[in-house]
């Protein structure tokens, strides 16, 4: 039962104020980097480098104009949307199937296979560069969005597999059995019964895959050469080089680049948090 502030005792009021102060502090800590980046996009280079936390002396959109003149941000943005969405859908679809198989069926070497696939999580990115470059080049997928989609789908495999296997494991077997008794086939049971039940895990895997792919830089650099396939994170490198820099344009570009990620996470944050803990309690 809620008690109004006026009806609280002195001790309760103190706790109430401290609780809200703490929450306000958490909000400030979370929002500060984003606000700092957005404010910096309105400051000059000298203002950014001389006093990082000062407010801009004037608000103008010169940084955004320079950013758009210097780098094909919108083209890269479009590519990022295509690559990220396709990789996310493909990743979730393929690894939902794999996760379901690992969660429900026993077959020879299933645990070994699962362990091997999960181990790829610990392979350093730099170790993958040359082999992936060679494979993509030999497949004729160099400088194509398809190449990037496949690579990003695969790069997010271990995490998606981990989440989705857990999600399917947490669904009671009785639901599946009921579907089979009612005459549903394997595919129908998987797509119409199990997939909706694992919605939390699917969302979680999708959001993580989306965020990782949206922010992926190295493979986008190595596996592409033209504007037709390059993604947004690469555009941020246009604004600093060894002896020259344009931080105003850089922060403007960062603002354009990070906003979609923040929106996606803000919309789906509850599902992400809940599904990350979904498999932790056994039925």
């Amino acid at each position: 039962m809620k008690t109004s502030f006026g009806a609280m005792t002195g001790r309760e009021r103190l706790c109430f104020v401290l609780k809200y102060l703490f929450m306000a502090l958490c909000v400030v800590v979370a929002l500060f980097p984003i606000i700092w980046v957005i404010l910096s996009s309105f400051k000059t280079n000298a203002e950014i480098l001389s006093n990082g936390i000062s407010l801009p002396t004037h608000f103008g959109f010169d940084g955004y104009k320079s950013a758009l003149d210097m780098a094909p941000i919108f083209k890269f943005f479009g590519n990022s949307v295509i690559v990220t969405c396709c990789a996310t859908v493909l990743n979730v679809l393929v690894f939902a199937m794999a996760g379901y198989a690992f969660a429900r069926f026993r077959f020879p070497c299933d645990k070994l296979l699962y362990m091997l696939l999960s181990l790829s999580l610990v392979i350093p990115m730099t170790a993958l560069l040359q082999p992936v470059y060679s494979v993509v080049n030999n497949l004729g997928l160099y400088d194509t969005k398809a190449g990037l989609i496949l690579v990003n789908t695969a790069l997010n495999m271990p995490m998606s597999l981990l989440i989705l296997r857990g999600a399917f494991q947490s669904i009671p077997k009785a639901i599946e059995e009921a579907a089979y008794i009612d005459g549903a086939g394997f595919l129908r049971t998987f797509f119409q019964i199990m997939m909706p039940c694992a919605k939390g895990g699917l969302t979680s895997a999708a959001v993580l895959c989306f965020l990782n792919t949206w922010n992926e830089f190295t493979f986008s650099l190595i596996l592409t050469s033209s504007e037709s396939a390059r993604t947004l994170p690469l555009s941020l490198s246009y604004f600093t080089s060894q002896f020259s820099f344009n931080y105003t344009a850089l922060f403007a570009a960062v603002t354009i680049a990070v906003i979609p990620s923040i929106i996606v996470f803000a919309i789906f944050q509850e599902q992400v948090v809940s599904s990350l803990t979904a498999g932790s309690v056994k039925e």
Binding site: A46, S134, N138, L139, G185, T218, S235, S237, S241, F243
Partner: protein, 439 residues
């Protein structure tokens, strides 16, 4: 159950067909030869894009080349923004042997890696058979671009580096002219400090470009052996009296004469401290001159306050920057096109274009400063004149001559030197140990 098996077989078949089809069509990224129009396309990845000061020059040269060789050759520029990104990409391609026809070694010391993999085209005959091209190679340019007596690269840009100083701040501290000796230099630092002015811009991050310039100048002016050290490619022993003495002075500079953000700071921080009038001196090359009149970086009229000087002991960094390298290709026609491109990009006309457009110092001393360049970049003209008339000791930079793995070691160890956790001898020993890993 039967449907499930058929479906599985169909999916497996589709996967296998896709994989085999993919394997069969290798796409050549680096160059295309003999398309339907007979034009040979040279795919040219370069970091000269975005904010890179050389970007406009690169675009202009590509435009001119494509116009001159229309119907025969065509350069297709591939932006690889960021110097480190360019190096990373080239290293991956080097590992797979799939290098683009032309790569730029400048500042990245890529030549040794390409030569070690036997992927560089020997340009000796091509250069020797063209008198105009050969005339552009000075002795130092030849040394920079050759390995084992063979020419593997051609330079377009030189680097003549001294230091910039703020005339107003010097005046406030009662300093009338730049120091001629290192003792006088440190006296001036004390005067500036006493006047409440931070004397020097320094850095430690990103291989500590600004700090290394001060350090190299001290080594080069310490003794003849020091100058010889500075002119040695890939030195392995940094435990020399000159290096140790220079490291001691650098430690003193960090502890007494620079800004707090120097430790961990990048070139940008050092440059901004000078551009905003917080420090009185900054070592850097003439490519920075344009920034002095850029109002997003410095206040209006700042350019008029800047003077340029040789390092104490009349030392000047004066060396061609490692140039363009032609790499071995499956198709000899692509190699021919690449050689033609390199010849064009390093011609006297191209060097002049770069000088007039961006104030870049020509690699060849036969290319003279034009009136257009003098009018546009008076500080550059003043400095080149100073370097020619008063420069007595010359060398390449420490960064250009050291093994590439030492660049990161510098960034890691300089903060320790600055804080006193490492003394000068320990610092030099660390460099020597890191250099030994290349043996």
């Amino acid at each position: 159950m039967k449907t499930k098996r058929i479906l599985s077989l169909l999916m497996a078949g589709a996967l296998l067909t896709g994989a085999l089809t993919g394997c069969g069509s290798k796409k050549d990224d680096s160059a295309q030869s003999g398309d339907s129009s007979g034009v040979i396309t040279i795919n040219y990845p370069t970091a000269q894009c975005g904010t890179n000061t050389s970007a406009p020059v690169c675009d202009e040269l590509i435009k001119e080349f494509n116009e001159k060789y229309a119907g025969k050759y065509e350069i297709k520029k591939e932006d690889v923004p960021g110097d480190q990104n360019y190096i990373d990409k080239i290293k991956v391609q080097l590992g797979t042997g799939d290098l683009p026809p032309v790569i730029y070694g400048g500042g990245y010391n890529l030549l040794d890696m390409v030569v070690a993999k036997d992927l560089a085209v020997d340009l000796t005959d091509a250069v020797n058979s063209d008198a105009d091209w050969k005339a552009l190679y000075s002795d130092t340019a030849l040394a920079t671009n050759s390995r084992d007596g063979k020419i593997y690269a051609s330079s377009m840009e030189g680097q003549v580096i001294g230091y910039f100083y703020n005339k107003d701040l010097f005046k406030q501290a009662g300093i009338t002219e730049p120091a001629k000796t290192w003792d006088e230099f440190f006296q001036q630092c004390d005067k500036l400090k006493a006047a409440g002015i931070t004397p020097l811009s320094m850095d430690t991050a990103d291989s500590a470009w600004v700090t290394q310039l001060w350090m190299g100048a001290m080594v080069g002016t310490e003794s003849d052996a020091g100058l010889e050290f500075m002119n040695t490619m890939n030195p392995t022993d940094y435990n020399t009296p000159e290096m140790i003495a220079a490291a001691e002075k650098i430690q003193k500079m960090y502890q007494n004469y620079t800004t707090q953000d120097a430790i961990g700071g990048k070139y940008e921080n050092a440059a901004n401290n000078f551009l905003s009038g917080q420090t009185a001196m900054l070592a850097n090359g003439p490519w920075m001159i344009g920034d002095f009149s850029d109002t997003s970086m410095a206040e209006e009229g700042f350019a008029d306050k800047v003077g340029v000087a040789l390092f104490p002991g009349n030392f000047v960094y004066d060396a061609p920057i490692q140039g363009y390298i032609v790499t071995k290709q499956d198709d000899p026609k692509v190699e021919e096109a690449a050689i033609e491109m390199v010849k064009f990009f390093t011609s006297a006309e191209a060097q002049q274009t770069a000088m007039e457009m961006q104030g870049m110092v020509p690699a060849s001393n036969t290319v003279e400063l034009t009136d257009t360049a003098k009018d546009k970049y008076p500080l550059l003209a003043e400095f080149l004149d100073l370097a020619t008339t008063e420069g007595e000791k010359r060398s390449d930079t420490l960064q250009a001559t050291m093994y590439s793995n030492l660049l990161d070691v510098m960034s890691q160890q300089l903060p320790l030197l600055a804080s006193g956790e490492l003394d000068a001898k320990g610092f030099c020993q660390t460099l020597t140990d890191a250099a030994a890993k290349n043996q």
